[in-house]
Amino acid sequence: MATASETTLVTPRNESGTKWWTRFLDPSERTLALLLLLPAALLLALIIVYPVCRLVWTSFQNLSLTSGAPAAFAGLENYALMLDDPVFWETTWNTVLITLITVPGALLVGLALALMANLPFKRKWPVRLSLLIPWALPLSFAGLIFAWFFHSEYGVVNDVLGRLGFEGVIWFNSARWAFAAICLTIIWKTSSFMALIILAGLQTIPRSLYEAAEVDGAGRLRQFFEITLPLLKASIVVALIFRTITALQTFDIPFTMTRGGPGTSTATLAMYIHQNTVDFLDLGYGSALAVVMFALSMGVTAVYLRMIRAKG
């Protein structure tokens, strides 16, 4: 971090006689800092701050573009409507369920992948690449690819099940199986990122710790639970919270795989917001839904920030 003495090493060059434009090109440190932060601040103001204010305001309005009527103040009406909207509750519950299943799921799979990838392979690039490809693949591509995997007649999943002697499943014809297919896809897509983070952590654990443990007669499992896991805790926690926040925003994968079906049994809150906004053009109600989701994820972010602070 910068200290005062270091930065003052630079002599201010605003001697008399310099032209005004030199002063502009070489302003005081504070002005310069402000100037440098200005573009970022402007962008954030336009894309985040102003929209958030606007969002909250719209959520108190009756504004449906299909009615042709101008916006009218509606107080808490949109929120009241939401409380007895079964689809709101269903999509919120689905979102929470997806989070509760895929976050630990991605962690477990990611941990396994990381431990496997940490083996002394002769060639490292195939392993590295196979962790990077799922990460770089667009979520919507992953949704389409796995929709094809789980196709009831021509999908590879049912083919493999058949070869193993099980009866194939009509995945997207049942809420439970469709949900399972979506969760498996999300876990596949997100576990490789977990693995990369954990792998980076693994490689910082000093060898001496394990050697000492071996001298003490600790078995491999004990070494894993008493050395590896505790030392990985910090990086895992950060990755977990981050994954939680993105899981709450799940949209692409169910949208491309099932469009929320059968019925609304695999629709998420993000999809419901999108539908109310883009398909129904009910901006008031869509905003109220978004405020709820905003509050949810900001709550998790607060925890996240606290963890990062604690970590130093």
Partner: protein
């Protein structure tokens, strides 16, 4: 060197030429056409208009492959108050929505006092679908309805008449599939996927019981009829008349499976006929088409389809655009599209036109079906109504909820929207 004076003169001359050419300038009309309705043939119809009106140039725009995707595209254009589109083709369920949102220009000013008689020329259902609060908000492009397609050869073989009721259909389907012993042969295929077609799936038996979903803008939901309707379809699945994953079946899946010879009865729109009789079809000349069955003791009902031409409220060429739409919605264009694109006419007389009956003989049977087809509910919040119905139908068919629960949920959600 030119003198200053000559220069000035030249400039003035140039300016004059410019204004003159501006007066003669072409009107560019940008027309949105749905990609599934033969934009290539529409293009020919546009060319004929351009030939007669040299100052008008028409460009086609398409977007999205499904009615829903197209609605999404037009939603964005209209909410953005974008003037880039002048004319757009709209699914029959949308003119009321667009009018309520103020996205289309009424034709009353152009039609004047003749509006009533002008609209009377069309099939009544289309005059109605395009008139909102006494205003003509769009003009019909072509008609459509749902039909029952059946395997003529198989029914003849087993000595069965085309069914009049859904119960008869179930009996016939069971009889044929049981004795044919073909594991790939399905008794009935219809639309169970959560698409617009599933709205019609629900409404067909519901209407057949004489019930309406919306009357005078108010919800008139008959729960008992709704349960019966959902149960009718679910029973088809449970009895093995329809296949187990019918909740995954969309309009064109029905068409493909019937065309491959794997379906005895199919509920589908008019476009399927041309494909069934096409060279690649396994059922060519083995197909019959009749009006859809009724529920026991009810009237047969079909779902009204078809598309309409609207003029954008944000167009800069409204007058030219409306003139153009009047041409597109004329009996002449209708006849041209019937012969060349097999689109059903929106005028009763065109069905009996000699050239049309020669090109598409089956249109003669189609007319009574179109005439009795019912329109889906007219409401500005149709998108929400549609979503509620189709997701419920889909959930019931997937065994996700019972017909009773489905109807209860449907009613609750519809009341919220049409409050």
């Amino acid at each position: 060197m030119m003198s200053k004076k000559t220069m000035k003169l030249l400039l003035a001359g140039a300016a004059l030429t410019l204004t003159a050419s501006a007066a003669m300038a072409q009107t560019n009309l940008r027309v949105f056409v749905s990609s599934q309705h033969r934009p290539d043939v529409w293009r020919k119809a546009f060319d004929m208009y351009e030939a007669k009106n040299p100052n008008v140039k028409v460009t086609i725009e398409t977007g999205g492959n499904t009615s829903e995707a197209q609605a999404q595209y037009l939603n964005t254009v209209m909410t953005a108050k974008d003037s880039s589109l002048d004319v757009m083709i709209l699914d029959v369920i949308r003119p009321a929505q667009y009018a309520a949102a103020g996205w289309t220009v009424p034709f009353n000013d152009v039609l004047g006092a003749d509006a009533d008689s002008y609209m009377k020329r069309y099939l009544p259902a289309y005059a109605e679908a395009n008139t909102v609060d006494g205003k003509v908000v769009a003009l019909p492009a072509f008609a459509d309805a749902m039909f029952l397609y059946y395997r003529k050869d198989l029914l003849e073989k087993h000595g069965i008449q085309p069914p009049q009721t859904w119960d008869e259909l179930a009996v016939a389907a069971k009889k044929v599939t049981e004795s044919e012993k073909d594991p790939n042969l399905q008794g009935l295929s219809f639309q169970g996927k959560a698409i617009e077609g599933a709205v019609c799936t629900f409404l067909l038996p519901y209407w057949s019981m004489g019930r309406q979903l919306v009357s005078n803008g108010k919800l008139s939901f008959d729960k008992e009829a709704a349960v019966k309707s959902l149960k009718l379809w679910k029973d088809f699945v449970d009895q093995g008349v329809a296949k187990k994953n019918i909740a995954e079946v969309a309009t064109d899946d029905t068409r493909k499976e019937f065309q491959a010879g794997n379906v005895l009865f199919a509920v589908n729109w008019s476009y399927a006929w041309g494909q069934f009789q096409g060279a690649e079809s396994a059922v060519k000349d083995k197909v019959g088409v009749v009006k859809l069955p009724a529920v026991q003791g009810g009237q047969p009902a079909s779902c009204l389809g078809g598309w309409e031409w609207g003029v954008s409220a944000y167009s800069n060429n409204k007058t030219e655009a409306q003139k153009f739409v009047q041409y597109l919605s004329s009996p002449e264009t209708s006849e041209f599209m019937a012969i060349n694109a097999a689109l059903l006419p929106q005028f009763p007389d065109v069905y009996t036109d000699a050239d049309v009956t020669k090109a598409v003989p089956w249109f003669a049977n189609a007319r009574p079906v179109v005439e009795t087809a019912k329109a889906r509910p007219v409401t500005p919040r149709y998108n929400e109504v549609s979503d509620i119905i189709r997701t419920t139908v889909n959930a019931v068919l997937a065994g996700q909820s019972t017909p009773e629960d489905g109807a209860t949920q449907m009613e609750g959600r519809l009341r919220r929207v049409l409050r």
